[in-house]
């Protein structure tokens, strides 16, 4: 199963997003929060992200959802620092909460692949909330 990592500048936001996603019929999916910096205050941390990726990772790879710019930079750095090959770890270009929900639902499906989960996350960009 494709794992998910949620990288927000806020530890609370990352955890809360994981909680909402876990309710979307996808309690089985591995969704790991990596929010905040080393000491849990606002920021991001490459080593924390690296740990989260390693935790979420199994045979089918990992999709990482991010919030602001430095979350992307630290995630890229975390991916570079992984011991094993890193071509099964992808960053989704998607809104963090909405993308995580879509990705979690997709990942829970029996036909899910790394590509389909990334695509589901990125489809969230098109999601409209008002009629």
């Amino acid at each position: 199963m494709v794992g998910l990592v949620v990288v927000s500048h806020s530890a609370k936001a990352a955890e809360g997003i994981c909680d909402v996603a876990a309710e979307m019929g996808s309690a089985e999916a591995e969704i790991v929060a990596a929010g905040g910096d080393e000491d849990g205050s606002i920021g991001t941390s490459a080593p924390r992200i690296q740990d989260a990726i390693e935790q979420a990772r199994d045979d089918d790879g990992v999709v990482v959802l991010v919030d602001l710019g430095s979350a992307v930079m630290n995630t890229e750095l975390a991916i570079e620092m992984l011991e094993a090959e890193d071509d099964d770890v992808r960053i989704a270009d998607a809104p963090i909460l909405e993308g995580t929900l879509n990705a979690a639902v997709n990942a829970a499906g029996s036909k899910a692949t790394l590509e389909s989960v990334v695509e589901a996350a990125e489809d969230a960009r098109e999601y409209r909330k008002l009629n």
């Binding site: 905040g36 910096d37 080393e38 205050s41 606002i42 920021g43 991001t44 941390s45 490459a46 080593p47 602001l68 710019g69 430095s70 930079m73 630290n74 890229e76 750095l77 570079e80």
Partner: protein, 232 residues
Amino acid sequence: MADTETQREAVLAAIDAVAERLSAEKSYLTDLDSAIGDADHGANMSRGFGAVAEKTDELDGDIDDVVKTVGTTLISEVGGASGPLYGGSIMFASQELEGGITAETSVAFAEAYLDKVQDRGDAQIGSKTMVDALTPAVHTFKKSIEQDDLPPLTALAKAVDAAERGVNFTVPLKAKKGRASYLDWRSVGHQDPGATSTLFIMEELLDVASEHLEGETDVDATSPEAVEREAE
């Protein structure tokens, strides 16, 4: 090329000097970041280099390993954008110092560092980031060494001056990268914190290099830019 022990001493001295300077400039950098960011650049940088400075007794091994550890420590300790930018780029560029510090490897280090910062952050010149200080500094350093055959200390002094122009150049620009870019037009008229810390670090490197490298006179008085600035 200075012997390895002198080089190590110079690197450790540089770490201490940078840590001290960034700690002294902490509130200034934070003020800059509070105008166009989240008011933590001073804290980020002084915490990061403070952690490196506390490790100096553990920093043995070859010069490139020492420098690499500077990078990885910054990665762990600096929460903001400057963590991956400074730390990740130092870590990456450290491999250029495998043969120790020479004029040549310094240029290679500087180029690799700039490349990585640009690659990681996707900022161009004029995006109002550290890249605006770094690019002219690295270009000037390389040209001074490779084309003009200037002594390394002179080249470094010119690079510092170039960085300073870059810092000043960030003021009138609109930010296109980093948090400041969220402010859109409101970012115009403010000096970029990351460019500023880049300049501070380079100033310390020049200072320490002047003290540790032999065969060079004090450049502060003799570099054309220093003279120019004196005249202003």
